[in-house]
Symmetry: C3
Subunit: 388 residues, 3 copies
């Protein structure tokens, strides 16, 4: 018991520190301090100041709502005079993080269930019934083949299909885009972000934005960088594309909102940064499956109870609101990890200088003698200890 | 060759360890041990026990389905007696991570394409045709102006627009909310999560939940914290808001599911935690662009083939299901990084004590002499070595 | 001033390196080198080569579009002969990261607002009006009870409800699935990814994919691993499930696209990896709330202006496209952190060997004497210094 206490006492009241050789040499000394300085500069400058290595980070959790505004009119021989408003061109009416604006369309009206000839194509043109396989439904066909070869128009015969008739003919897409005036439509993007780790939340309608300003402003990278209302034409332009091109064949635009926040500073410095990117980029040389479109139908009932529909192949721009960003706040753990690593790196200076001093310099044997104390294993080497 | 072997042998059979000065001093010793203890306590207690620094972490991948239930009836002079069920008030019928429940609406029935006076407003009231610009379509207008100034009612004249007529009048929003009974509707949230790094998956309908329980339970933070069925009114209440307020002007509610799992423990401890937050928070003092609404239309065909529609400006609550969380499992890499940093930090104790012992204590010269061995550069300083 | 310069000069031209005891012992030397080698192997092999600890990582930002293709026909007594195409079975027509394919349905045609008996069930069967509570609307009821008990069919009486009549009877779900031919439908998934930190973007339609290939290919894990067109049946099969089962009661399938990219290599090595998983997994033993379905309605107007609707309870498969992955690129910060930690770990070798040499070996007192220089506190211990 007493021995134990003695050992504990010895342990507690002991202080061990490495013995150091202090070499007073201009060359080596300067080199050593320079290397230490570089490492210190790296640790402080890069890791702490630039990369904010002393901060705990968190990824953003966000919620988005988008509201389109705008109305336009068209006048075509097929549809006559027609007004298009939000309820007509936003499909579906509501989505979570995106909004689709129809800008072009192939409309097939008054389709009913029945039998009709296919649109002429590589696999659908026929001469006799033998060319058509009853019951087959290829991936690109509009219906199920009946096996009959019927007249498509005066000169051409195609396989007959059971389908919604007449079959859609999408070989010619209107150019310029049917709703080309969509360029002037606007999107109001409301974005609310939250950093769960820091319980910090903010919205992109900043506290200094007034109702009056919100009614008239349009986002502009230079003059109105915080206005959350975007003109479609400008979004596409900022992304470096042509609105009329994208309106014709459709596409996906990304409205990126970056919330990089340093929460060690005031919350008012945490601001959204908008940027725009076309998400379905493609090489012009490599134009496989371009654009964006989908089909939907409006169903009507005839007075006799039968159903007919209007099929619309909608080309348009889907605006995906992509919210990303990181918030950082001082935290002891990453700070300590980085300090730990930095200290360990400081040790590198000593290792590096040691290599130079002990292996490269002329006086290396002299320095080695000072640094090392050689101890041979007991049996073989008692005598050697004399030379220390 | 032989020399090379000798060097290799010397390298292999050598063991170098720093020489240590062991100072037996109560003051310094105690200080040294205390600092070491604090660092050790920090490394073990905070980094390992609290922050689980020995674990590799992974973010959750999740899939969500939501199913609303509930039916209510309304009786108004405009619509008469009417029943509202899921197919009526959930728009669109299906979404990926959210569900929209319509709670209020401005309905404009029997709209057809035509010409009609605008709703009176700052820019639409006119006295003569000169006040109206033909062809203009402002962001907030319902149609394209024809340039004529026509009678809106007996006393007021407004600009005529080509639009879906009659034009929607949304100046008065029903209050209390039209479908205020939505408070009692329920949402069944099915959530399946997956941690790809650990190939661990789980669903929020826990293994001990029976079909019978699922048919009757309602989530309650205290009594039924794992029931995945939520009453709309309770969700809003838990978030600290009034259901009738949010039902009138619409809003976004977040149903947050937190899956923080320590996969070093049994899978049954990995449980979902629900919380609720209003995502479109706003200061009451700063009420810019409040609520949530959008417009959609139901299209009908007349017997003569013409189309008319019912336009609905739907106010309601969008419930976004936000799944987040981190799973941790023991992994050698972060463990080693943290041990490495911890060890490096232990070195700080020595540096700290050295500073005190060698620069602040009365006997500093005595200690310095013990710790350091001064070596002058060869040429200048052979004589100095004697003083070691 | 001069003193200050002298101190600064001394500081700059000084080089301190620890004094080392170099013990020439086969046993200890080998042990020391082995431990060092293991730590070095771990740091280089595991941290750097395997886990690529020298890389900065970034998470993927992605945009997805999905296009379904396929047409089928059904022939039932209720609906007669009918063709189903994309506009019929994809609901809603467009979603952000997922697509729903209806495979089965319970259809209730010609519903109008009115009064009708409930579907018989535990709570709805009645004998007299006293069994029915007027105004009540349970979570699972189809309408609001009127309080009357009326005849459901010849033998059974149920409570009358105000509802869309006739009430939906979903007790019998068609089996096999109504649109079981959906097995042969295809999905074209277009995915564009972006790593913001490295400004690297790529799409899943790889540069070497031609239009001709894209028209005919079908994804196959072995023969066509980069074809972005998936046959529904194969997706379910790859996930280890039966298509006809999932088609009957619905479900959620995940199409996972993994983009793990080492951006230190050429961009052409950054390739998408597809995998498939059923997201609504359930134990067969624990079959609570299986499948996936939702209700939607198509609204029609009668010639007299009244509204009727067709209610569809749609069972089907929702395909969620889940894009995940990490890109890594050499960066100095993580490299330094890992080197720092590695170096600190190398120090562990010395500590470990010291413990063995100084506490476990026979000659420990001899070694201790060589390593340590004991210094007693001045007052008590001047004499002791002699024994150094």
């Amino acid at each position: 018991m007493a021995g134990c206490c003695a050992v504990l006492g010895a342990f507690l009241f002991e202080y061990d520190t490495p013995r150091i050789v202090l070499i007073r040499s201009r060359k080596v000394g300067l080199m050593n301090r320079t290397v230490q300085l570089l490492i210190l500069a790296y640790v402080i400058g890069w890791v702490f100041v630039w990369e904010k290595g002393y901060q705990e980070t968190d990824s953003v959790v966000s919620s988005v709502t988008v509201k389109a505004k705008g109305v336009t009119m068209t006048n075509t021989s097929k549809l006559g005079f027609r007004i298009w408003d939000v309820a007509d061109y936003v499909i579906p009416a509501q989505e979570e993080n995106s909004v689709f604006i129809m800008t072009n369309m192939v409309i097939t009206m008054n389709q009913t269930q029945g039998f009709c000839p296919e649109i002429p194509g590589k696999t659908t043109v026929c001469e006799t019934d033998a060319n058509c396989t009853a019951g087959s439904a290829g991936t690109h066909s509009s219906g199920v083949a009946t096996g009959r070869c019927v007249s498509f128009n005066g000169t051409l015969k195609t396989c007959e299909v059971a389908a919604w008739c007449p079959v859609e003919d999408d070989t010619e897409v209107p150019k310029p885009a049917f709703l080309k005036a969509a360029e002037n439509f606007t999107l109001l993007v409301k974005n609310n972000i939250w950093y769960p780790k820091f319980n910090f939340s903010k919205r992109n309608i900043l506290p200094n934005i007034t109702t009056a300003y919100l009614k008239t402003c349009i986002y502009d990278a230079k003059t109105d960088p915080f206005c959350p209302i975007f003109r479609l034409g400008k979004i596409v332009e900022y992304a470096g594309h042509s609105f009329q091109d994208i309106a014709t064949e459709g596409g996906i635009m990304g409205i990126q909102i970056k919330w990089n926040c340093n929460l060690d500073r005031a919350a008012s410095f945490c601001l959204p940064r908008y940027s725009f990117r076309r998400l379905d980029t493609r090489d012009t040389a490599h134009n496989v499956s371009p654009g964006y479109n989908f089909r939907f139908a409006k169903y009507y009932s005839n007075p006799n109870g039968a159903e007919h529909r209007t099929l619309i192949k909608a080309y348009g721009i889907r605006f995906d609101i992509i919210v990303f960003g990181k918030a950082g706040k001082f935290d002891i753990i990453p700070t300590m990890i980085n300090i730990g690593s930095g200290l360990a790196l400081l040790g590198v200076a000593t290792v590096l200088c040691d290599v130079i001093v002990l292996y490269c310099m002329k006086k290396r044997y002299y320095y080695r003698e000072k640094k090392y104390k050689y101890v041979e294993d007991y049996e073989q080497g008692l005598g050697n200890q004399m030379d220390q």
